[in-house]
């Protein structure tokens, strides 16, 4: 029997080949196929066009979609058709696909700037910056709200994640996103996450929470430094860690997340980085996919899915022991989440699964949203 989480990792690593009888269009506008694996694991997998590299072939047999594993079994999967909403336009004429990307119950938006992959001309399937943002038609906060409303008519979404892109300002990109957060808060009942760089001072973290943000994804670049690390690396690292620790005291437990890319450094270092983050109350989000061919990081990539499984097990077990809530990254279809790390562990996931199932009910969802609002109402005091 295939380990489902390992299968997800392998799919993220290798992509799929298109077999027989598949519907058209198979992929979303960004070239990704949405699948639901057994045990409810969602995955957005890229389609391997050259037909030679991937051991996985998706085909349709009657009404059933099957994932054939080369030299092995066939796994029944569900195929999620690309959203019709992507082709719709807002009242000002902007295409929804040019505004946002949907990952499971998670909407990713790059309102102004692309992430570092986007800026380098590459397409990031992880954070939603799937095209060069600078080439997108400009859109307003009002357009964004309309686009989310269009998507919500077709599919329920819990979290809207806004990314500031790669910035080098003291606020880490908060100010740039403020008007977008305000507009979403004004019109929609969703959780809001921001993808930012840790700011230079902690008052920006207070402001981020106070303006209506529920979760933070901090791009702590010291874990995955560029080819030429900065001169003040140690000072920079200390400040970023301080910001992460402070943010985890301000935001709900488990709502501060930081990315770690598996494979760019020895796995022992990744393991140490996981501990470093969890000790500060931060949930690591382990991104696992090989860099694109054009990337300078390609030559540093080492980890295979089998090697990565121990890291995921360690992440899940550490989170369970430290009682940090792992549910802020649930149903993230382009990474294997901390909770999905349970498939590699012997620790009982009963409590977390019950909580996850509860959050997926309409009552649980409403309660989660209400508690997030109530917490902010209680904690934020005008100075």
């Amino acid at each position: 029997m295939t380990n489902i989480a390992l299968l997800k990792l392998q799919l993220l690593y290798s992509g799929i080949l298109a077999g027989q009888n598949l519907p058209s269009p198979l992929t979303n506008p960004f070239g990704l196929v949405h699948l639901v694996l057994p045990e409810g694991l969602t995955v957005s997998v890229h389609r391997n066009e050259n037909g030679t590299d991937s051991p996985f072939t998706l085909r349709k047999d009657g009404t059933q979609f099957l994932l054939d594993i080369a030299g092995g079994e066939s796994v029944p999967v569900q195929w999620t058709p690309p959203l019709q909403s992507y082709q719709q336009k807002t009242s000002s004429g902007v295409l929804v696909a040019d505004i946002l990307t949907v990952h499971g119950d998670f909407i990713a938006v790059h309102p102004t700037h692309a992430c570092r992959f986007g800026q380098s001309g590459l397409s990031c399937r992880y954070c939603g910056s799937s095209r060069d943002v600078s080439q997108h038609p400009p859109f307003t906060p009002r357009d964004l709200v309309e686009a989310i409303q269009i998507v919500e008519q077709e599919k329920q979404c819990d979290v809207v994640s806004l990314s500031s892109g790669r910035v080098d300002t003291a606020d880490g990109g908060v100010e740039r996103l403020e008007k977008w957060v305000t507009e979403i808060r004004k019109h929609l009942n969703v959780l809001i996450a921001l993808d930012l760089v840790p700011p230079e001072t902690n008052d920006w973290i207070d402001k981020t929470y106070a303006m209506g943000v529920d979760a933070l994804y901090y791009d702590s670049d010291f874990f995955n430094p560029d080819d030429e690390p900065r001169k003040d690396f140690e000072k920079h690292k200390a400040r970023q860690l301080e910001a992460l620790a402070y943010a985890s005291r301000i935001f709900p437990t488990g709502a501060v997340l930081s990315h770690l890319v598996i494979g760019l450094e020895p796995l022992a270092e990744t393991r140490a980085s996981i501990d470093l983050l969890i000790d500060r109350g931060v949930v690591p989000v382990l991104a696992y996919f090989p860099p694109y061919d054009g990337s300078s990081l390609r030559s540093r990539w080492t980890a295979t899915p089998e090697e990565a499984r121990a890291i995921y097990a360690h992440l899940y077990e550490r989170l369970v022991r430290t009682r940090i809530n792992p549910h802020w990254v649930q149903q993230y279809d382009v990474v294997l989440t901390a909770l999905e790390g349970r498939f590699f562990s012997n620790e009982s996931p009963r409590y977390h699964l019950k909580l996850k199932n509860f959050y997926e009910t309409s009552f649980g969802r409403a309660l989660r949203f209400s508690l997030a609002r109530l917490r902010r109402h209680l904690r934020v005091v005008p100075a």
């Binding site: 929470y209 106070a210 209680l378 904690r379 934020v380 005091v381 005008p382």
Partner: protein
């Protein structure tokens, strides 16, 4: 807007933010229970319900579960809702003369602040004070006190505070440094407090107390009568305050010449007096003269409202200035306080309460005087002076009636004592502002403030004993 995130454990945050709700529920249950009971012997049903409303207001005023003004509104709407008296009569109390007097005085104070006349007066009074450190203390006290004769003390403190901050910075005084900065801010705050009792304009509590007196059928007190009665107290306390500040704290600075430069710069920035300022100055002189000489004939409120009309005729202020800067809530509070006090009086609840609970503990008018003034000084440290007046005066007047004592004595005693709060930041706005400077630490202020309070109480009693009889006000006859 700046934010602070409260990171204490959530149960503590909930308790800190929402403790009011269980208290409201308890209060609600208490009210419900009391209304289900029969009135005590000797008290009518209306009187019983009026007493319940009064006690509820008392709890709300003391705990500040609701803003003072909202409790005032509650005091007005509760009696008709509970059938104590018709709505028409209850709301009519809001039309009392003192309410309009207070409104007029607040508008005049707002005009003084907005026109810059009060700042100009303050700077010129301070100007000659920078010859020596002690003299600067004296001038800050004097300026604060004199301005509090004609404006409410919180307005004076709000105006003086930035000036004292500028002077402190010029003198390189720091909160962590020596004690001279502390002396300056205390001189400002206590100057305002002492000056605030000199006339009816220093704080609205006097007008409120006089309103309560009038509605209880006890006559009235004129502007001149009040000032004459308070003059010795103000002089003694002013002298003692200066002595205490300059002796208790060490003056650890040699020269204050830099303060002179700062004041000169401020005066230069103000430029020449505007026509509005000159007009306002004349208008204030005219208004005060009218209150002193024609207050009784024309009515205090009529004079203040007439002055306000003249302000608008000559466009010294705009209505939007008043909307932004006036404390309209205080006026609502006074309406409610006067209403509940009058209802206690008319239903006989006040008399019943004092006979039952107060009189057994007091055996002479002097005991009453001692108790009321002490209680007022004590309460004023934790409550707004107006709330103290609203609570203590109605009971005090009921007791006075039992002793055959002129209720005006109660007004003099409570309205003056309730203004004499020196120690705690929640007492009066001048003291709160002084604390906000960062120069004051409570443990260093408590002892001198307690001495000030003690001397204030003794001075009030001495004045009542030896000075007031000369004015025809007798406590023990």
């Amino acid at each position: 807007m700046q934010y602070k995130i409260d990171t204490r454990p959530l149960p503590i945050v909930i308790l800190a933010r929402w403790w009011r709700f269980p208290v409201f529920m308890l209060l609600g249950y208490g009210l419900y229970y009391c209304f289900g009971q029969k009135p005590p012997e000797g008290l009518s049903l209306e009187g019983y319900r009026a007493l319940i409303v009064f006690l509820t207001c008392l709890v709300l005023w003391v705990t500040r579960l609701l803003p003072l003004a909202v409790t005032g509104l509650f005091a007005m709407v509760a009696p008709p809702l509970l059938g104590v008296l018709p709505a028409k009569e209850a709301f009519a109390f809001f039309g009392s003369e003192p309410v309009f007097f207070i409104m007029g005085v607040f508008i005049l104070a707002t005009a003084l602040l907005k026109s810059g006349l009060s700042a100009r007066l303050a700077l010129h009074l301070l100007k000659s004070g920078s010859k020596s450190p002690k003299r600067l203390v004296l001038h800050i006290m004097l300026t604060s006190a004199l301005l509090s004769f004609v404006m409410s003390e919180h307005a004076v403190a709000a105006m003086m505070f930035p000036l004292v901050v500028i002077i402190s910075r010029r003198l390189n005084l720091t909160p962590q440094g020596g004690s001279y900065g502390r002396i300056l801010f205390l001189a400002m705050a206590w100057g305002c407090v002492i000056g605030g009792i000199a006339t009816m304009l220093g704080g609205a509590r006097v007008a409120l107390a006089v309103g309560l007196l009038h509605d209880a059928g006890g006559g009235t007190i004129t502007f001149a009568e009040w000032t004459r009665a308070m003059l010795p107290i103000v002089l003694v306390l002013f002298g003692f305050c200066y002595f205490l500040l300059t002796r208790f704290f060490s003056i650890d600075i040699q020269t204050v010449a830099e303060a002179d430069t700062a004041i000169e710069e401020q005066i230069r920035d103000l430029g020449r007096p505007l026509m509005e300022e000159k007009f306002l100055g004349l208008l204030m002189i005219g208004a005060i003269a009218s209150w002193v000489f024609f207050g009784l004939q024309l009515g205090m409120a009529s004079i203040s409202i007439l002055a306000v009309v003249l302000l608008f005729m000559f466009r010294v202020v705009e209505w939007k200035d008043l909307q932004e800067k006036m404390e309209w809530g205080v006026i609502l509070m006074y309406g409610g306080a006067i209403a509940i006090s009058s209802i206690l009086n008319s239903t006989g609840a006040g008399i019943w309460f004092t006979k039952r609970f107060v009189l057994p503990h007091l055996d002479s008018p002097w005991m009453l005087m001692l108790a009321l003034s002490f209680l007022s000084i004590l309460l004023a440290e934790a409550m707004s002076p107006s709330a103290v007046v609203a609570i203590v005066v109605p009971i005090g007047m009921s007791v006075a009636k039992q002793f055959g004592l002129d209720p005006k004595v109660v007004v003099y005693a409570v309205a003056s004592a309730s203004g004499l709060a020196y120690a705690l930041p929640m007492s009066t706005p001048p003291v709160a502002l002084a604390y906000s400077s960062g120069y004051l630490r409570m443990k260093e202020v408590l002892l001198p403030a307690s001495l000030m309070a003690l001397v204030s109480w003794l001075t009030l009693l001495m004045t009542a004993k030896f000075w007031w009889p000369l004015l025809g006000i007798h406590v023990g006859r």
